[in-house]
């Protein structure tokens, strides 16, 4: 292990901006994709339900 303290870990030997800029953006984008996919799913299901309700009213 290369770190003696939390501050050292965050500083990344002076490269904190680059290292954390890489990892946090990657994690953030992945989280955003998961949210978007879940939203799409939610919207599709809502649409399908209203479609089914309209259908059952017609018959």
């Amino acid at each position: 292990m290369s770190w003696q303290s939390w501050d050292q870990f965050v500083a990344m030997g002076g490269y904190g901006l680059y290292v954390w800029g890489s990892y946090l953006v990657t994690l953030g984008l992945i989280a955003a994709e998961v949210v978007l996919v879940a939203k799409r799913r939610h919207n599709v299901m809502r649409q399908l339900r209203s479609f089914a309700r309209a259908e059952s009213r017609r018959t």
Partner: protein
């Protein structure tokens, strides 16, 4: 054309693999697989991050900045790999006219674009401290940027065509033409004199890096891979429902799902 073959052959006599080419059969199967791949992604991810930050030693030349490699290389591999898989599905759809193939290609594109962006972004953040610049127009970086534009082009082209089957075909042609860019990216560091370093890992010789670094890289690459499968399956399920919403089985599914 598809309908005639379907009418001609009763389901039980159809070649087995085509069973899963039907969106209706694939939909529940995909749903069952998502949690496994999601959990695998999380496990590999945690292990990979642990190795990347707590096991792998400081690099003698680059200090801590080299730790970007763990996410950069995996993302770059995925960006190319997903493109090839996308082009395969697109080509399969073009050749066999199976509905699911086009949906898979459509579902893969955003995730491929995401990994391409991550590869470029982490590359820029790594280039600044090691090369002194965020960006250079060398063959590796430029061809990877073209890959991002190919993904965007594919997504935009499909979005601009209303009929999904026609969108599939148009997208497939673009994807297949663009596949030529993948070997260019991969071999660019050999073919041209690039600022970008050569491959750290190759199939023909032992990795030119410490074992712990290699392990961290592979673990995060595996996490990306498992994640990509999970998220693409989740997306393709929505695409299936969107495209098949008028069908009998989606209606039944909606009623059962409440």
């Amino acid at each position: 054309m598809r309908t005639t073959t379907e009418l001609a052959l009763p389901p039980q006599r159809r070649w087995n693999i085509f069973r899963f080419a039907s969106p209706q059969t694939f939909y529940p199967l995909a749903g069952k697989m998502i949690p496994y791949f999601g959990v695998a992604a999380a496990i590999f991810g945690v292990m990979g991050l642990y190795v990347a930050f707590f096991v792998a030693p400081t690099d003698a030349q680059q200090g801590e900045s080299y730790r970007i490699i763990f996410v950069h290389v995996g993302a770059a591999w995925m960006s190319m790999f997903i493109y090839v898989v996308m082009a395969c599905w697109a080509g399969l759809g073009l050749a066999l006219n199976t509905r699911l193939s086009g949906m898979m290609a459509t579902a893969l594109a955003p995730t491929g674009a995401l990994f391409t962006f991550i590869a470029l972004w982490t590359g820029a953040l790594w280039g600044k401290p090691t090369w002194g610049t965020w960006w250079v127009w060398d063959a590796r970086l430029t061809s990877e940027l073209i890959l991002l534009f190919l993904y965007f082009g594919f997504i935009a082209l499909q979005a601009s065509i209303e009929d999904p089957r026609r969108a599939d075909r148009a997208g497939a042609i673009l994807a297949l033409v663009g596949v030529v860019n993948v070997p260019i990216i991969y071999f660019s560091v050999k073919w041209w004199n690039t600022l970008h370093q050569g491959a750290s890992v190759s199939l023909t010789k032992a990795p030119s890096m410490a074992v712990t670094m290699f392990t961290g890289m592979i673990l995060i690459a595996l996490a990306f891979w498992m994640y990509a499968i999970a998220v693409v399956l989740a997306r393709v399920r929505s695409i299936i429902l969107e495209r098949e919403r008028a069908s009998e089985w989606v209606g039944a599914y909606t009623r059962s799902a409440g």
